[in-house]
Subunit: 343 residues, 4 copies
């Protein structure tokens, strides 16, 4: 712990990245570094009241401003970047959500086009209670309120894409990006395939909570104070983002139509289990079929994201380069929290 | 309780129905009846060992033999059939699963056609422990075994479709049918819109458990001893199957592509909450977005099925004709179990 | 020609069928019969002016009333029904089209659900000129008119489905049905797989013309006087409806999403060419890739329909049971037209 | 004609661009310039015989090497780039096609993943006859050959995308790119919305011909000698690529699932006609429904592309900034051809 490299970084608005790939690194970090970062909300902080309609107030060049990218020393194509979330804490006492004209799952969009009129644009401000760990919904029409559990997460976590591509921070794909899965919470490790020298890791789009599918297209959006440990697994490729927590291993797929996202995640989980846990491909297919949980992440972004997760206790022991990565990073995270008095 | 109408029914193989709609009723029952039924497994009991390849041993006219249909007296188009599952218990000590050539999510199929060869056909026999409440997986290649929790459910629950249609017992749609959702377990009430006189309710396709999506197309398939209470809510229409348990209300959607199934379930949940819980449509849209769980049911059948569920504790009180239906049927089920000594 | 069996049939409204499968035959016919039939339009003739909004005037049990079904003697499961269209002529001097709330490709629907309001419901009446062979469009807003070429066709052509199913006359699938392809015009032969004794052939939903995709969901709908020859090819299975005219062979696929319909039609064409024209599967794949035309039929019905067509002149000679079927039926049709003075 | 600016450009292999966006311009050109360019084939010329399997011989950083990008002076976001194809001529006497493992419409892919084995990888070499205007197919299995009409086109035509994105030259989207439509032939004008200063126009991926849908994923691929006129329409936005030839106006849509590509193209055509030809939106919807042709372009790329086309003779006269653009560029093209003796 004496040698824990702690790297604080809070971007100036001029430093935000709006894409995965294509942005110059804000900093070089060594593998194993503990990043203490702040991320702005998806609206770049410009939606602050129920009167701040996104279509009127947004002035920036995009959505989902990214903190990063970080150039991770030694990361090369064919490696895996392991990103362990130590803590994710809302940095304001409120969060914003809204409908956005022609965006979201229950409206026609610029990709699923119809000739109909868009839905009305409305903004909801949610009150966050960091002590009680709740998010308060207040109805716009009527006076109903309800407190939902706070469950902070990052919508966007990713690296530079392969093939020279530069993708909007609204897009999830094989590089990660805007996957919008509630599984990206504290105590989780995310494995990302490295496509370029330095990996070029960034994150943003914090949510105090969201439902599965992010139905209206906008979660409980808030700025975050986040601590992540970033490490490199040399010589291990990762085809699609994978996650691991104390109980589960998970694969993700991002594509359209949604069944393609489902297929990617499920095939990846089957192949991962076959490769690292020593089952035949067909035995893994059978076991996954009966044991998998398949929570949707988003059904509103430019690609849809599906997650396939299975309890580690139901698998043969894991072998190979990822065998103890999560456990090790989890321990470093616990040490960090003990040291900083956060828990 | 003195007047509890208990109706036992165990079909002879010649009595199975293979469709929703189109089959003559096996029996007329009064609303409020408690049905004690037995259902055969999806293979009509013909796959009994790892050597019984479905393509070789199946001789029947279809899959998913149905117990029913039951003509429910007084049920008319525009009403809702409320089906409460009191108990669902495997009736054998084993269950079967398999790959099926050109069926399942991770293979091309007769609807998602390619020029590739099919996957190998294999059968797994699962051991069921009714006392320990487990299902034991045994790998075909190697000697790995693992016990998964038993979580019995029915894959097919439905009524005759609208518009004179007769649909295969492999198809889920607005009439219910082969939804294959793990949510269809004991202590759950399923609401189905009535399309024809008598509703023509049937059920089958028991699973000792399944993962979300039923990835390979076949769950842990077993015969079941099941108790359901069937009642009629007059003058209340139900557009798509809805479920309710002690904690959740749920909507289902069945369609292709999968995002259409998702949209159906989510719109239905938004509209149901708006109608019965007194939120505006847009407030319900926002609340569902942040609170919904969206477990996939199947991504392998002729339509895919998505479920949208929300905790009742987070909603304003329910009003209208469904306000206390689940609670009332749940109590009758508890009385039944106490009386029969089953719990 | 002396032995040409000519069978006239004009249904009484009480005789319409509204499904494929499930309806009693209106008549038994011998293979080789020439059917002279009349078919009502998709609205059952109830939309007759721009003021007849479908949602207000339709009183029947469905849409697409079918003329039939005809029990074709000797047709058994595993055979192919060959249906040759000799002539298709509008039987009125006008036709109707409309928008229909929540139906069509450029609106949300009951399967692709959103929370948006539907488009306005409007009716267009088209003037048909049987001599000039034109259909006149008259704008509702403004006074623009234009004459488009008349190109009469049947939207629905099919047999009873397999597996005991009964499908709405709005649904296209492997049994044919509501494919809505402009290729179903005079001088074309349609091959349909027989699923039940007697095949149970019916047709309806005449269009004076339609664009590819039937974008708004409703073509230039009109009653038709149609002559078809119906024959049976014994012992020849047909997996999906196929068409043939003097220049092309064609396969159809009907499914969702649309790429699945595309895949079905293209795989079927590749496999058909490989089987009957003596190319290897991969050579057929390559040739189809460079030579195929892929006109969309409908992108609005409960399944979408895609057609794959290739010029016969570019293929090796056809062998097998279909080798001369079209040519033979075409000749009988020409004889009929000469005899009746229709051409 | 005296002032026709003719700009020849033949890239050195080191100058190829592999993306839309992100590449430095190879040249600045003035609006109205006539570009005489050479484009390499999709394989960068590395597949030259039936033994050159792509998976073995390809050494480059991607597929579809682009000639360009060209910085067009004066082009700014919100303008339209008009690209008129004067001529497209194969520059070699042969062309190549192939199957590619896990690429194409009739196989599982890295986005539509299954657990099946890929199809075999095979290469076909097509002989091109520039005088007879034919492409000769030679079967690999057996000795069948057939001559198909030559119909040269460019698969990729596009500009830099919006939102700072850089997209693979394999991707079609709103910026154009790898649309793979046979409509992109000589005597056609393509309208592209400008997203960045200078537009950054490039082209490549010549096909001696292809079927609709490019079923196996690879057309009759060849290097091209192409002449295009590039001009700028100031202050006119174009949401999705549009095409025009002497007879038709056309809109394109590129998305997944395929029905979304269809919807984009059809909505765009309806809105274009409403805006420039003076019909109400609903009248345009009706007219398009009955008059549209909807040829598929590709159903194999990262997005699928659908085209919606309508005969200009059936529309009210066009008004506005595009009224005579095609006619004017067509005339310049004719002048060029007369001057160079090419026709």
């Amino acid at each position: 712990m004496a040698d824990m490299r702690i790297v604080p970084f809070r971007p100036d608005p001029s430093q935000y990245a709006w894409t995965f790939g294509g942005a110059a690194p804000v900093m070089r970090i060594a593998p194993g570094s503990v990043l203490e970062v702040w991320t702005e909300d998806c609206f770049a902080g410009q939606v602050r009241s129920v009167n701040d309609l996104p279509s009127a107030v947004l002035t920036g060049p995009g959505l989902n401003p990214q903190t990063g990218p970080f150039y991770v020393e030694g990361a090369e194509p064919g490696d895996t970047l392991a990103v362990h979330f130590v803590s994710i804490e809302p940095s304001r006492s409120w969060a914003a959500s809204s409908t956005v004209p022609l965006f979201g799952a229950l409206t026609s969009t610029n990709l699923t086009r119809t000739l109909q009129d868009p839905l009305p644009e409305r903004v909801w401000i949610w009150e966050l209670d960091a002590v009680g760990r709740t998010c308060r919904f207040s109805a716009l029409d009527g006076d109903f309120t309800v407190d939902l559990p706070m469950d902070p997460m990052h919508g966007t976590v990713g690296v530079a894409p392969a093939g020279f591509e530069v993708l909007s921070a609204l897009t999830p794909a094989a590089h990660g990006g805007n996957m919008d899965t509630p599984e990206m919470r504290a105590a989780t490790t995310c494995y990302l395939g490295v496509n370029v020298e330095g990996a070029m890791f960034s994150l943003g789009d914090g949510h105090a909570r969201q439902g599965e599918g992010e139905t209206c297209g906008v979660a409980v959006e808030c700025a975050m104070d986040t601590v992540v440990i970033v490490d490199v697994i040399k010589g291990r490729a990762t085809p699609w983002p994978r996650l691991e927590n104390d109980d589960y291993v998970m694969s993700t797929g991002s594509a359209r139509p949604l069944e393609d996202a489902f297929r990617i995640a499920q095939v990846d989980l089957v192949e991962w289990i076959a490769a690292d846990h020593g089952l035949s491909k067909l035995d893994a297919y059978q076991l996954v079929t009966q044991a998998v949980e398949s929570p949707l992440a988003n059904v509103c972004d430019t690609n849809y994201t599906s997650v396939a997760k299975i309890r580690k206790q139901w698998l043969p022991p894991r072998r190979g380069p990822l065998a103890d990565v999560h456990l090790r990073m989890r321990q470093i995270g616990a040490d960090y929290l003990k040291r900083t008095g956060a828990s």
